[in-house]
Amino acid sequence: MKTTILSIVMSLFTVLIFAQDKNKKMTFDVNGKCGMCKERIEEAALNVKGVKYASWDIPTHQLAVIIDERKTDPMKIKTALVAVGHDTKELKATEEAYESVHPCCRYREDNSDDGADH
């Protein structure tokens, strides 16, 4: 009996220590410039298992996500973002990945103006 109680208490402790939020909200900077970027960024984020919600704001370049921390972490998301060619603060996209974005989305050359309506 004692051991059971003890193990329950202990298990509670471990839960407390490693409490991982099922719905953790976070935001980080992602570079991009237009509606097409927005689709690409959100799509890439949502394709990461454990990302429930992703919304990228064009003017502020902020990506807001809600994630299940038991399944993913911010680094995994950033890895997915650079894979489709979008820079984040910590990770930069490879030249190859950056070249894969649509020509009008080349945010590195000119970060203010999106050119045509698309």
């Binding site: 719905n23 909200k25 410039k33 237009c34 509606g35 689709e39 959100e42 799509e43 949502l46 990302v51 429930k52 919600y53 992703a54 919304s55 064009i58 003017p59 502020t60 809600i66 203010s112 103006d113 999106d114 309506d117």
Partner: protein, 769 residues
């Protein structure tokens, strides 16, 4: 300091004009004497991806292009503002801190009719600007400029406009107001005229199978109306309208923000027609004498932090109509059935004919008086931490009393209705996979008296629904819904509905849908115009639960393709769609014998096929054209054989041209609008059993119906409009058959295939404060 900046700005302005075109300026806090600059405010052109942020001194510089004229300035903690900028210039703008109660209306410049490229449902949104293109006095008249809906005159007497979609009349449409079912049961015939046009914020029109969320009744489509909201509507709005035929309207809105979270609005509508119009000289009024008072009070509660939003509405309506012969006096001339019976008995006693003998002096008239009380409550809760999860609860109660008589026939109906819907929205895994689920409870109590027969009944239903939607902005999205309902008369049944959208290439959207709808037909309420005739009304009882008839049951299938394009650097879109509604069971309204109206259940097949092509294009800057061709094939197996639906044009052509001048900074501009409906020939109900004098041709001839309107906007607060309807002055020459003996067997006001009113001009004004 300010002066210096401005002076400096003006000196550099000429150079700017020769260099790259830019709009420059400073963003500060409004009303702050020390001019607190706002660094990091967002400045961007509406509907573009061009945006900049202000620097440490609150200054910005943004490239100017002719295509953009609305500059949005937003900053966290401040009210966003939209400036109209038509030239490269220097602006200095103060933003109000958002904790101030003064409202800043952010106006969005959007297409008046928006088609969605991504939704799986074929939905078109009509915004209030579109509704200003014609004198939309009420919801029934709001579809004149929209090709998805056909507006027909329903009856010669009241001139009430009936709408049709996919070749089916409005009972087959689900009409909701803020997603609460509205125009149904007793209000089916006139309900659309009970929503004043100025109360409408936007309309969503969905073709084909609707969503399962709002119930099982929609068969051909769904029309949802969003009303103006106390928080976003003008604080004072006044609209006056008058037309040549003596119809006057007054609409006033008063909205007040009471606190951070509460706002309320009071909306009062009145319309009146006291002038007797008999333009065609047939001795019958061309339009009813009318009198309506319609008052609504709305309360809105919004708490963004905690995620609550709520609406509470109360409305009272009193509507009176009088129609019939011009010199009919309701106080002295009403012929009730007893008197008719009495004269019939006298006639029989003296060995005369069997038919009622009413003296020549009898005058035929009709009155329709409606009183209605509505109240509804909506509660919505969005989980603050989870923007994709929410609860919704809607409940509505209405009491509708109509007392009416048509000649010697009386028709009284009281309809008490309770509706509640509980809804939960969330996701499965991520936001691309959403679901909605919930429970619906509905009660309808009818007290219905047709002359001396009582048709009272009670309907109760409870249902559960689940709708899954997959949304992937790139290629595919779909919505699959299912509901199960138990209804005391319709039994237990399942309603599946499915929509899918596929984007094969850019700006293309291919959609498909199918779904089932089931409904209890209220045969008298929906076909009231038939009372205004000498026809005998017969129900061929098949032992069903509704007037001895079985309920209606139909499947709807449809495909549509939308392609947006850019031609000569101007935007346009092309849509083609095809829908089939296939009735498994229907209450057939058969008036192919001009002495009677028969109601019976379908034996055989009944289908409505509709094909539509639509092209919209911007011909020149601010000059838009919308054109559509529609083809309908609506066939039903009547007792007399398989026939096209009577009074349904098989070919229709629609065109709408709109032009507006560039708006000045104060909003002043001119707007011009022209609409053409080419209505093809219609099959007329068979009149061959009438004496020669009362016989009509087999088909009506095609005609053009044109409307136009000019609006002069003086400023953002005041505008005036004038317009004309039926400019080509098309008139049906014999809207009343047998009008010389209105109590006789050949009297008929139901066969209306063209306008009764000739050319008509109107004018009005709008004040928004």
């Amino acid at each position: 300091m300010k002066k210096i900046i401005i002076a400096f700005a003006f000196t550099i302005l000429p150079w700017l004009a020769f260099s790259q075109e830019k709009v420059e300026g400073t963003v500060v806090e409004a009303g702050n004497a020390n001019t607190l600059a706002l660094p990091g405010a967002n400045v961007y052109w509406m509907d573009s991806q061009i945006g900049v942020a202000t620097n440490i001194d609150g200054k910005f510089s943004i490239p100017y292009k002719k295509e953009y004229n609305k500059l949005i300035i937003s900053y966290v903690g401040y009210e966003s503002d939209t400036l109209t900028v038509n030239a490269p210039k220097v602006v200095k703008h103060g933003l109000k801190p958002s904790n101030e109660l003064d409202e800043v209306v952010v106006q969005q410049e959007r297409d008046n009719i928006q088609k969605t490229y991504f939704s799986p449902q074929n939905t078109v949104t009509v915004n209030s600007a579109e509704l200003l293109k014609a004198a939309c006095c009420n919801l029934a008249e709001s579809f004149e400029t929209n090709p998805a809906i056909d507006v027909n005159l329903s009856d010669g007497l009241t001139g009430t406009k009936q709408i049709q979609m996919l070749g089916l009349t409005s009972p087959y449409l689900m009409i909701t107001q803020e997603n609460i079912p509205m125009v149904r049961g007793a209000s089916q015939a006139y309900g659309l005229t009970f929503t004043p046009g100025t109360w409408i914020e936007s309309i969503q029109i969905t073709k084909g199978a609707g969503s399962v969320v709002n119930g099982y009744e929609s068969i051909s489509g769904q029309i949802n109306t969003e009303l103006v909201k106390p928080l976003t509507d003008s604080s004072v709005f006044i609209n006056g309208y008058g037309n040549q035929n003596g119809r006057y309207e007054l609409n006033t809105h008063f909205n007040k923000k009471l606190s951070e979270k509460w706002s309320t609005g009071l909306y009062i509508h009145g319309n009146k027609r006291t002038q007797k119009e008999d333009d065609n000289g047939d001795g019958f009024l061309d339009a009813p004498l009318a009198d309506q008072i319609n008052v609504m009070n709305r309360w809105q509660y919004q708490d963004a932090e905690k995620g609550w939003v709520s609406f509470f509405n109360v409305r009272f309506l009193n509507d009176e109509k009088q129609v019939g012969q011009v010199d009919f006096n309701p106080d002295t001339d009403r012929v009730d059935n007893n008197r008719r019976m009495f004269s019939q008995a006298e006639a029989l006693a003296s060995g005369e004919a069997e038919l009622p003998i009413l003296s020549e002096a009898e005058v035929w008239g009709s009155e329709i008086n409606t009183r209605r009380f509505d109240t509804s409550l909506k509660l919505g809760y969005v989980f603050p931490e989870l923007p994709f999860q929410s609860f919704g609860f809607q409940t509505a109660y209405s009491l509708h009393k109509q007392d009416s008589y048509f000649g010697y026939r009386t028709y009284d109906i009281n309809h008490e209705s309770i509706y509640t819907n509980l809804l939960f929205n969330s996701i499965i895994g991520d936001t691309r996979n959403k679901f909605k689920t919930g429970l619906t409870f509905a009660y309808d109590g009818y007290d219905e008296m047709v002359t001396a027969t009582d048709y009272s009944r009670e309907d109760r239903s409870v249902g559960a629904f689940f709708e899954y939607s997959y949304e992937n902005l790139e290629k595919v999205s779909l919505t699959a819904g299912l509901r199960v309902d138990n209804h005391n008369r319709l039994g237990t049944f399942v309603t599946p509905r499915f929509h899918i959208r596929y984007t094969p290439w850019e700006k293309g959207s291919l959609r498909g849908s199918f779904g089932r709808g089931k409904r209890a037909a209220n045969i008298f309420a929906e076909n009231q115009q038939l009372f205004a005739s000498g026809r005998e009304i017969k129900i061929l009882n098949s032992g069903g639960d509704l007037y001895g008839l079985d309920s209606e049951d139909a499947w709807n299938y449809g495909v549509s393709f939308l392609q947006g394009f850019n031609f000569l650097n101007r935007k346009g879109d092309f849509t083609v769609d095809y829908y089939i509604t296939d009735f498994k069971n229907q209450v057939v309204v058969d008036w192919e014998n001009s002495q009677e109206v028969l109601f019976y259940n379908l034996e055989g097949s009944s289908t409505a096929k509709s094909f539509q092509v639509e092209v919209n294009y911007e011909l020149l800057p601010r000059l838009n054209i919308r054109t559509a061709y529609k083809n309908y094939d609506v066939t039903t197996d009547y007792q007399s054989g398989s026939l096209q639906k009577p009074l349904q044009a098989q070919h229709l052509f629609f065109a709408n041209l709109e032009y507006e001048t560039k708006a000045k900074d104060n909003g002043s501009q001119w707007k011009f609008d022209y609409t053409l409906h080419r209505v093809g020939e219609k099959r007329l109900p068979d009149t061959s059993s009438n004496p020669i004098a009362y016989q009509l041709a087999a088909t009506s001839s095609p005609y053009n119906h044109m409307n136009a309107q000019i609006t002069k906007v003086f400023s953002n607060t005041f505008e005036v409009y004038v317009g004309g309807e039926n400019l080509s002055n098309v008139q049906q020459d014999n809207p009343v058959l047998g009008g010389d003996d209105p109590f006789g067997p050949n009297f008929d006001t139901t066969i209306i295939y063209a306008p009764i009113m000739g050319r008509m001009f109107y004018g009005g004004f709008r004040i928004k404060i």
